[in-house]
Symmetry: C2
């Protein structure tokens, strides 16, 4: 049988395990042009919280009793597709389930000789590409600039800071535990970082750590940390909106200080993006990321939840509360 996690209820505030349901269905059979996939690692990501809402998001939201959306590293069990054969390791978007069918669209082979296959949904997958395109394409990062990253110990933020260091920038990060701060400064080479749970005055902290101002702010969190960036932006500063995780689990909408006046005084830009807007450049980007990884210029950590698909809701909720360092994964099965 195929175990799946479906949406049972739309969360109010933080999701609860009862918002999800474990169901069993028959393992599907591939038709011509399709492959049957067996999930090895499931990715749980902040964006999935938005898909659980009724409110319109950037993509179709998950309906009741539908399988939760998500990327996986999977192995081809049976192939009726000319480009894939049994045993191939691939990145796929079959959602929270043990087995799934793909017609090949968006299926990307993972080369196990480059790095552990789990990186296919991590630093060499969607989160890594999000960091790469967000910083370089949206943020138009220039050598030697000052970069501030929120959510800096997460799957995306930790890569953002490292790419900025590769580009010769000064990098400041915010994260939510002293362990995370130690990780990004000692292991990843961030120049400065602060635990936002131990700081009261974010604008003053940023002014202290970024005395010349911030050229690029890579925003994973929104809320008060982001508010503090605007007065500290440099002329022609760029604010890259990647995520707003502080806002996803609020039961009612927050208000905040109006900041658009700063956009004029700083002649600044705010831009939101989805990594999928840049997928036509992903081959080149992944080759660059793999090179940096093999050169030791990029490091990564993964927080891997064991316990199979049954444990995906708990791992997801833990990630939303900041329980992970680096990429949060769920181990579903062993490759054959």
């Amino acid at each position: 049988m195929n175990k799946q996690i479906t949406l049972a209820a739309r969360p109010v505030g933080y999701p609860k395990e009862s918002d999800f349901k474990l169901v069993e269905t028959p393992i599907p059979t591939p038709e011509d042009g399709q492959v049957l996939l067996k999930t090895i690692y499931l990715s749980v990501d902040p964006y999935m919280r938005g898909r659980m809402n009724q409110a319109r998001s950037y993509a179709a939201n998950v309906e009741f009793n539908e399988v939760m959306v998500g990327g996986v590293v999977a192995q081809v069990v049976e192939s009726k597709h000319t480009d894939f054969q049994a045993g191939d390791i691939v990145n796929a978007h079959i959602g929270w389930q043990e087995y799934g069918i793909s017609g090949g669209d968006g299926l990307r082979k993972i080369d196990p000789s480059i790095a552990p296959i789990s990186t296919g949904i991590g630093i060499l997958g969607m989160p890594g590409l999000t960091a790469y395109f967000g910083l370089l394409e949206v943020g138009q990062l220039q050598d030697g600039e000052t970069v501030f990253v929120s959510g800096a110990a997460g799957a995306v933020g930790s890569v953002v800071g490292q790419i900025a260091k590769i580009k010769g920038c000064r990098v400041i990060g915010a994260a939510g535990s002293d362990e995370k701060i130690a990780y990004i400064t000692n292991e990843l080479g961030f120049d400065e970082a602060f635990n936002y749970k131990n700081v009261n005055d974010y604008p003053a902290k940023l002014a202290e750590l970024c005395p010349v101002g911030i050229d690029v702010y890579f925003d994973n969190v929104g809320g008060e940390i982001t508010d503090a960036v605007f007065p500290n932006l440099r002329l022609k500063g760029r604010v890259v909106i990647c995520g707003q995780i502080s806002q996803y689990n609020l039961e009612s909408l927050e208000t905040g200080p109006r900041f658009l006046w700063y956009m004029i005084t700083k002649r600044a830009r705010i831009e939101g993006f989805l990594v999928s807007d840049y997928f036509d450049k992903q081959t080149e980007a992944l080759a660059q990321m793999a090179e940096w990884l093999q050169q030791g210029k990029l490091k990564y950590r993964e927080t891997i939840a064991e316990g199979g698909i049954e444990n995906a809701p708990a791992a997801f909720i833990s990630m939303l509360k900041g329980g992970n360092i680096g990429k949060q994964l769920v181990k579903i099965s062993e490759p054959s």
Copy 2:
């Protein structure tokens, strides 16, 4: 003697006439390389309110007892500069005074054969260029898009809407009186407009008037009208921040709903600018604007305050409260 208006006090909320002081000083004498200018028209503009504050703005603020900053149309009275001769009509930045000295930097000759010389600080001057560059360079307007403009009957907004119409766009405007609404729809060709003082639910109004969403929002006002744009933005929408006049005269900072999440879901961009960032392209832009004006494709109105320099503070305050249609000027003297 030379009458000048200087800053007497930093305003709290809306400026009062007592925040200004009329002083008399000797008429200055030009040195080699300089011209003596006599002001004909003084421009009063929203940005000047920011310059009256102590808080840092995008340019040096006016200090106590300094002449208020501002653009003028002036006539050269005496020239010791090789590029200018007595009698020339020019656009200059000598501030709120009857006479001033210029070394030639930023001095632009106005050709009286093209249009009335008052347009040199209006549709063929800073406000016209602000509309032109804001919409076409910052907003990257494409033919056939939907454009929403706030402050739509003002010196900048009225030109924004007309350029968008020239570019084949659907144009919606917001302004603060029924007379303004009649002007922009009947005379300027806006497709739709609403008096924001008579509408309660801005998001619903915009949804009604822009059923496919807004591609470019040209923001002169900020506040609740701007808040209403984000849920109505179209995918890849652009928000051009030109002014925030609703916020300039508040005694304490407003808060508003957080909207950065929409930047991701719409993959949208917000960008602030100053017209001076584009001055290297002004010759070409002014030629295009003059051509449209002579073809009857661009129209304009001016609200001209009489009474000389003494009346500049009252005209400025009236403009901040929306008393003008089109460009607010103060008539200072007759050309010779």
